[in-house]
Symmetry: C2
Subunit: 313 residues, 2 copies
């Protein structure tokens, strides 16, 4: 079951933070890009190959300290078919290294179509008679709730059947998230509170042995006050918390997303880990050739920063 | 500009209906599947090849009567990398036949990531210096508004720069769409009305020579009363109307989505066109070998049905 495995990996590594592999080509060190441009010309293929090398190096440097990686699909779709090939290869590599893989795709559609998305990422694609195949091999997917329950149910079915997980968008980390998510409804509740109540309902039959559900919620680190409210509504829900680091969320901010048991949340950082070698904090210690060591150093710093804020340091 | 081209194609073909190419393998006639399974074994590759042949036949049989096709990305992602290759090949084939291609991906994310989605589907992916490439070549994309304006802006920029379009989800055709979209807010407006107002704002600088904006809205055929309200709010917005046919929307239902000038909406049908050869209406006239002729007959029937309901018959 996804949520149990996640919790066990968090405990084994004493780390509730995960690494976002959202690799824009501009994050990739020059020497890697140059090699691939020489080999394949300046092309989507070369870009994708460079990104794969970059991803593998970061995974090699961090797999022993983090429980999971989050791959943002947009950054792979951006490089077309070659990008999606590298999404697949990165996911495979990460899983071989014992990491859970969360695909951040924010997929959503009406029931019959949500079935297709769910087959693609969590279930299996039917081919002929009893024969089916896995299209993309990952462990969990982020989904958007705007279409309501029948757009979510197919994912719940596959979570149950295949031991996978989902994280439903509740309160996102971006500046304009309030434009829809914070709207006050006629019942006196905000939209994000209503969505949170739906999420607890959707997750109630998918609880694992630690009491948490495989149906999680996305709650941005940049809104600590809303996180406090949501932590109360979403008692048995694991929160996926983006927005730590470059987006402005601090360890103190994300601490509100955890329960007293030190569980209940995973915190994602993407740019601050991937581009650690360019950061003021690490660039004097690590040159570009040692970018992966800088990522490791930043991943350890982040782990300790968050553990200390939640009293696990 | 996307919206002007769309309107001209609608007028040229006297047809505001479009075909959804959402090809589950089970829709594909047996003889096509068998050939591909023989060639490639029972595999995602064979499934994708069968789907491509199926799509091409339907395009060949209908390109002279419809203005556009809508490709539901979920049904391609379901077949993995092979499926996405066929998404690309289908889009290319349709555009060569003079059709506009709308990708129904309902993409959404925070600003920086929405930029990546927009580059993937509407803009160009930067590679090195001034060199960039198109990852997927299509004309418009559906997007989800749950993250608010900063998740939409990157798409608006690429619509402006590259003459593309988007359709923002407002009121979807599925049964549980009301769970979030119909919620009454403290201002007395429903959520879908608030989203509709945002859509008119987002589209105001992207109007073409016919007064309509390249920022459209998705409004399901299955909710004619909401469509009436939305038609009034979304005066200069083109509505993409799913839900006609198998989902239960009739020509009278979709008529509410049009303006008095007979413009303002495109109506999509997927299963009723793709699976026309299996339908009670056409299966006695066309056997499985002539599935594409059945699709053409149903596309003509749909065109005339809608034109007659909007006084253009």
């Amino acid at each position: 079951m996804f949520i149990d495995t996640l919790i066990e990996k968090i405990q084994e590594k004493n780390n509730p933070s995960i690494i976002g592999l959202d690799p824009k080509l501009e994050y990739v060190p020059e020497h890697i890009k140059e090699t691939e441009f020489k080999e394949y010309g300046v092309s989507l293929k070369a870009a994708a190959e460079a990104i794969l090398k970059f991803n593998r190096s970061i995974i090699d440097a961090t797999y022993d300290i983090v429980p999971a990686v989050k791959l943002q699909l947009a950054y792979y779709e951006m490089y077309g078919l070659e990008g999606l090939r590298v999404f697949n290869a990165t996911a495979k590599y990460a899983r071989e290294k014992g990491l859970l893989v969360i695909a951040d795709g924010k997929r959503n559609d009406i029931g019959s179509t949500a079935e297709a998305y769910s087959a693609a990422y969590l279930g299996r694609t039917p081919l002929d008679g009893e024969i089916s195949e896995e299209a993309f091999k990952i462990d969990a997917l982020t989904v958007n709730p705007y279409l309501g329950e029948d757009g979510i149910k197919p994912f719940l079915n596959d979570c149950r059947k295949h031991g996978k997980g989902i994280f439903v968008l509740v309160k996102t980390s971006n500046r304009s998230s309030g434009q829809i998510q914070d709207i006050l409804t006629s019942t006196g509740k905000s939209m994000y509170e209503i969505v949170a109540e739906l999420v607890t309902d959707w997750g109630k039959n998918l609880k694992g042995k630690y009491g948490y559900s495989s149906v999680g919620a996305v709650v941005g680190a940049t809104y600590p006050n809303q996180a406090k409210i949501l932590r109360r509504i979403l008692k048995d829900t694991y929160l996926l918390v983006p927005g730590y680091g470059v987006q402005g969320g601090t360890a103190r901010d994300v601490a509100h997303s955890f329960n007293c048991d030190g569980l209940g949340a995973i915190v994602n950082a993407s740019r601050s880990i991937m581009c650690a070698y360019q950061s003021d904090m690490w660039k004097t210690t690590y040159d570009e050739a040692h970018f992966a060591d800088a990522s490791r150093a930043e991943a350890i710093r982040m782990r300790d920063d968050i553990n200390s804020a939640i009293g696990k340091g």
